[in-house]
Every structure is written in C-alpha cells, then in structure tokens.
Amino acid sequence: MALQSGADQPGADESRADEASPDVVLEARGITKRFPGVLANDTVDFALRRGQVHCLLGENGAGKSTLMNVVFGLYQPDAGELLVRGEPVRFRSSADAIAAGIGMVHQHFQLVPVMAVWENVVLGDELTRGPLLDRGAARARIAELSERYSLAIDPDAVVGELSVGAQQRVELLKALFRDADILILDEPTAVLTPQEVDGFFEIVRSLLDRGISVVFITHKLREVLAVADEVTVLRGGKAVGRADPRTATQGSLATLMVGRDVSFEVDKAPAEPGAVVLRVVDLTVADDRGVPTVSGLELQVRAGEIFGVAGVEGNGQRELVEAITGIRPSVSGSVAIGGTDVTGWNPRRIADLGVGHVPEDRSKDGLVGPFSLADNLVLNRYHRAEFSRRFVVRRDAVRRNAERLVADFDVRTTGVDVPAGTLSGGNQQKLVIARELSADLSLLIVAQPTRGLDVGSIEFIHRQIVARRDEGVAVLLVSAELDEVLSLADRVGVLYRGRFAEVLDREEATRRRCGMLMGGADQHAEEVA
C-alpha cells in the first residue's frame, strides 16, 4: 500500500525529518499556526526535494494555503521552524522569503489590474536608472523570461484586460523575475480549462528542467496523479500522511484527504423535465464597464431539470445570472419566467414569482456579515405579511423562522442571534441555501454553490439541490468547477464569450468535449483532428 497514515510513520520518513538530506531544498518542521478560533496548521512537517513537484493535497480549509503562506513569510508561525537548503531561516516578511529564492503564485491572484504587466512584475524589485524606473530594461528582461518559458506575455498589456490564464502567467513571471528556484503554486489550475491545465503542466515541467523545485497545491486528485513526484496530504490542519503517486489511486487519496470513504458521484434519479420555466431569448447584458459580456444568449430551463452552465469564469456567468434575477438591467433580449415576461422587472418582483437565487459571492452579496442569522434568513422577505405587519417587523416570527431553518438545514451555530459573519464558510453557505431553498420555488438559480467548501458541506448542498429538482423546481446551476456541473446537471451549456458554445445532453457532455468548448475551440474541427 502506497499510503501511510501519519501515526505509524515508518523510520525512513523520520530520519528525513531529522537530518535533512542534501537534496531537500525546503523543509518545514512542526509548523503550527493558529487563527482566532481555528487551528489552521497543527505541527505540520513538510519537505521539498530539488527538481521535484511536491503536491500538497487537502480539501478546502485543510490549511494548505496557510502552510505555504508561512513558508512564504506572510504569516508568522506560532511554532515550528523552516529550513531552506538545510539552513534554518526566519522570515519576517515575504521580502525575506523572496530573497531566499522562494516564489509564490497565490490562490487569489495578487495583481494590480490597472497597471501594466511590466509594472506588476518589477514592483518591489524595481530596476532603476538613476532615480527613475528603467522601463526598457524591465521590458527586455520580461521578454526574455517570457520567451524562455514560452509564456507569451506582452509586457505593456494592462493586467486587468488579460484573460485569467494570462494573468496567471504574469504571476509566474513575477516569481521567475526574482530568480525563484523554489516555486509555490497555490491551486493554480482552479481557473483553467482542462486543456489549459495540460498546457500549464508543460510549463511546470519546463520549470523543473531548469532546476526549479515546485510545491503544487491542489484538492484535485486527478492532478496529483498527473504531476506529483511526492504527495503530502493535509486534513484539518494536520499532515495526515504521505503517498507515492506512482502507486496511489484517486480512491485511496480521497480517503486520506477526507478521512472517510467518499464518492464524488451524486446519487440522483433520471430527470423528469416538465414545462419550460425559464426562457431567455437573444439576451445581451453589459458588465460594469459597459462591455457586453452576454450577447445574444438563448436558454431554456424546464421544471424538474438541472441545467448546468459550464465555462471559464468571466465569460458572462455573473452578468447572465444578474440579468435573470433583475439585479442588472439587460441591453436587449427578453427573460420570461413561468410564461411571464419579466424583462426589466426589479429583483423583488422577480423573487416574488418564486425565484430563489444563491449568489456566487455569499459573503458579499448573499449575507450581511454583522447581522444576526435571524435577520439574514429574512433578508429578502422581511416585507412579506409573514414577517411584518404594517411596516413593523414581527420579531418573534423572524426568530421562529430562523430556529426552524437552522435546524432543518443543519447550520452549526450557538444561536440565531450570532452575527452571520462569524460562521465558517460552509455554514454561511448553508445559511444562504436555507433562505433561498426554503421559499416556495419554481426556479432556483445557484452560482458557484460549493466554492471553497469542505466535502461534507458540498455533499449536503448537492443533495439539497437535487431534492429541489425532484420536487419539480427548474434549476439553473452555474459553476466554474466542471466536475460539479457534470455530476449535477441533466443538461450542460458551455458558456464561452457570452453565449452557449453548445448545449449538450448529459451523456454527450464529456470532460474532454466540455473542456474544449470552454477554451473556445471549434468543437467539430477538434473532433476531426
């Protein structure tokens, strides 16, 4: 068995932890990091060998980013020590880590969107001529690096106007520009299409060829098996084991990662679609900058089916959902719900038709952090007779409602008066789900319903969504996780540049085909090739 649990670690590993073997370039010993109320890292050991890819695997919230932020000098550990190339180090800020040859591509890009690529790259390590920035030298250096690692980046482009894939390559450039030979990649594939992921692995291999060692953070088992030379699994802040990717299987990794047997398949009966509930015709919607990001989109969702919207983020998902729910005015086209044309209606009227909406950014759009759970649970229906009488809120009704929903939806909290912002991410999302799914629904729109959540919450939420479908609700599911779309949806539309590249029945929707459509490939041409 390739897996070893942390408890009965054989001697080989212990000796490695004690006296660093010469090819260990980065080592963390007994790292502990505490946040208020959370033990994010609990005496974690970790070692990266020269020229290898070391995968850090763990589900959301396992403490992977925290560990690497400690390594990168952004967080100060509460206990434990770091060794770089065998030397003990203490990083007071990331400047120290950078000086020690460590580079990090963060899970959430750390870029300044309004500035040019070259400005983003030199920032903090500016090339100057006299008192002024040396733009020419910066450009030349970037062009050279971009060439060497085939990154294809124009140094003068404005970062905010680049695609996410290109932004990620800018992040890589930042690290390479500083001559990093230890590179930490925190969930780098989350924003890429399956095909882009393959391209990204190519880049990673070219880094290895140049002697750079890579820490690769992910929660996707498939990727671990594809790139890793070594794997460390984190669970609940602890390093629970190591695995050899040559012999491990997805199943064995999953068990180690979650701590129990899991199936990522969602149990569901075949859909029994009814009448069309949502009908979108020739819809065009502009984003905040006035650029149409949804253009001429057509969509129909029937009662009792889950329509999954796949696609790389930024292809109009947000605008589409906001236009359907009335939050964002559309430029042209129409939206009809249950046969009623609701184009131009305000969000309240649309919601009152029986439309539930789980927004993609729960903490910003779905909840009011400082408000109590009870208030959050009536955020969009305090005005109904159930909760208010002549403009005066019925506080007892609000409270009873909260107590019922918290129990029904298994929200873990000490009470309904607690501010929602103090709940964990999974419980916050359950709160939003509880509010939106408890209404009398005909249409349910869920965007990124499980982003950043642990497996337990994901399973719970998936079951809730399927249950709603089985009650005959039409469900529009938007997710950047192709796997999520494929496991829940009855039909799949791949959104590319503001319209559906193709709408596929579930059986036709393979990862490969969807991935290609997400990348904008002309599907038939590819199929032939």
Partner: protein
Amino acid sequence: MLLAMVDLPAQDKPTRPPRTPRRGFTRLSRLQTIGVAYLLLGVTLVVQVAGALDPAQVVFLFGLGDGVPQVGVQPAAFTLGTGLLFVLAGVVALGERWTGRYAGVALLVATVLFVPLVLVTSLALSAAGTMNVVPLMGESLRVGTPVALGALAGLYAERSGVVNIGIEGMMLAGAGVGFVVYAVLGAAGGWPLYVSVVVAVAVGGLMAALHALLSVTFRTDQIVSGVAINLLAIGLTSFLRREVLLPLGIGGGSTLPTIEIPLLADLPLVGRSLFVGKPIYFTMFLIFALTQVVLFRSAWGLRVRSVGENPHAAETLGIDVVKTRYQAVIVGGLLAGLAGAWFTLETVGTFDNLITNGKGFIALAALIFGKWRPWSAFGGAVLFGFAEALGRRIQLLDVSVGGFPVPSQFLQVLPFVVTIVVLAGAIGRAIPPASVGVPFERSR
C-alpha cells in the same frame, strides 16, 4: 465638466468608463441627464436671455501692454448662438442611443462654451463694457494655488489608499501655527518669514502623521479620522490665536515678496500677469511637474500606486504597506501645510479663524474631478480658481439683473455651486484607487 469628458491619455488607465445602456425612457443615462439640463438651459438662453441683453458690443482684451489683441462680441447674438448650440448638444446627448460617442463630444463642446458665455453675459449686464481676460487667468491660477496644492495633498494620500478629508484641517493648522511662529518672531518679513513657511509645512506633515497613525496604524475609519483632524485644527488654531496672537496684537504682518521670473516675466501680453508672483505660487507648478514624475516614473511612485490599488499584492512582494502609506500621507500633509502658508504668509499677512474657508474640501473635489491624476486635478483647481476670480471680477463690475445688483453672496458661493455641478457631471466616470478607504491589515 470640461476635463471630465476628455479622455486623457492615462498613465495607468483605469478600466474604460462605463456607458451603461439602459432600457426605457424612465431611466436616463448620465449623459442624457446632462443633456436634459443643457437643453433647458439652451431654451432659456434663446427665449429669455438673448433678447433681454443690452445690444451694445462688449470688448475682451487679451493681455497687458501695447497692441493688445481685442475681440468685440455682440452679446445678444452670441447668447442666441450659444443657446442654439446648447439645444443641439442636448438633443444629441438625449439621442445617445443613436448618436453614440457624438453625445459626449457635443456635451464637451457645449461645456467649453460655458466660460465665454458667463463672461459675455456678465459683462453685458454690467456697467463696464470691456474686460481683460489675461489678468483674469492669472488670478484664477493664483486663487487656485491652495486648491491645487490641497488636491496634491489628497492625491498622494488617496493614491496610497488613504481617504483624506482632513486636507482642510492640515491646511488650517499649517496656516495658523505657521503664522503664530511668524508673529512670535516679529512678523516683519525676512528670514523669519521663510522659517515660518517651513514650520507651516512641517505642521501640515505632523497633522498628516496623526491621520496616518489613526487610519493606518489604528485602522480607524478614514473619513472619521479626517473629521477628527479638521476639528482638532479648528480648536488648536483658534486657541492659539486667542492665547498668542491676540495678546501680541498682530494686525497685519508683511508677506512673502513678489518675484519675477527672468525673461518669462517680460513676455509680451501675458508676462506680467502670469510670471510675476509669489514663491508658493511658483512652487506649486514645480511640485505638480515633480509629482507627475515621482508618481508615474519612480520606484516609490509605483509602490504608492500599488499600495492604493491592491495592498495585499504589494505585501506579497515584500513591500511594507504601512510604511508606504505613512510616507504618502505625510508627503501630502507637507503640501497641505504649504497650502496653509499660502493663506497667511503669502497672501493675507494675518490669521483669522477658519481662514482656509473650505478650500481643503474644494481641493478634494478638484482631486475627484481630476480622477486622481495630477494634471487633471490641476485643471480642476484652476477651474475653481476661475470661478472665484470671476466672482470677484463681477462684484467689481457691478453686475445687475433686472435693476437689482447681483448679491455678493451669490458670487461667494459660485465656486461651491460649480463644485457640485462638476461632481455630478464628472464622478460617475471617475474611478478611485481600488483600495482607497479600506484599512489594511497586515498578514500575521
């Protein structure tokens, strides 16, 4: 509104301004709203004003000295023509859907015409028949000096991500304390004057350091911190005035000397009006040029901007966000202090309570109007300077409408009205630094 509609080539161009097309006629877009206003104004001009004006020609002079170019204008005809143009611009803007980008252009042209329109009508309504435009421009620049410096004070702070509504207080403290030191030193010109200017600058920096302490270190709400700064400056300066200045019995001290810029001051027509002035006035231009370079061409400027846009990104690159914000806020404070010195040490020669009279807030408006870019903010400052200079001019000209003199209060509030109009017209498209107002918490 002048500058707001021009898309200046930007150093770090924010995302394109939105022109969100909307549905239906009930929700007018911003340009359409302005269009309606212009349409109404145009109709008023044509129907009401043009006919009522004295038909006699008014004459504009351009410069001082011999052979001054002059332009005669027939007020009624001019007003009629402008009115029709406004109507046209309004219609074009209202039809934004069909006219597209011409809507903005039409409004811009009409807006530019505002200035001559105001000049012509006020001159036509006054007893005088001529006006010299160049000294008016010179005065606009001079009156705009503290506003411009204040805008820069805000620029540095806000580019680094710290809202600064304490500019007024920083100016006031500089003006007050600077003058108190001057009074104590004898108030008779010479070196004490320059020492006092330095003190004023330093006091501005100190107030800014306090603002940074509150809003960066203690992460107080930045607007609240600014209010506290303003209150403190009022209390401090009026206390000092009562305790120090009044006992000394200082009426009017002498102010910074007038200097001439060699060669430039001798330029025909404009030389005497623009290139003869006082030190802080000239320094202001230098500082603007310097700011442009520092902010957009130096490493420090790059860091300041990055910290204002995305401090966490800067932090991951090893930049000390807190230190950078302190530096930027304090640099701004020094400039606000200099603006304060302009009031007491360069211009008036005494200190009265609340002598800055809201200029710090107008500076803030100029900054927003200028979309947080140095030269555009300068344009905003000059615009307000112009409004104020014009107000003074009109007061001197004895303008009367329908037999009643235009009340002085109207002219005094003119810059404030202009500010509101400009903001309503401009800010819809102004995109502040992304992280301004957001306290930064260091990762630990």
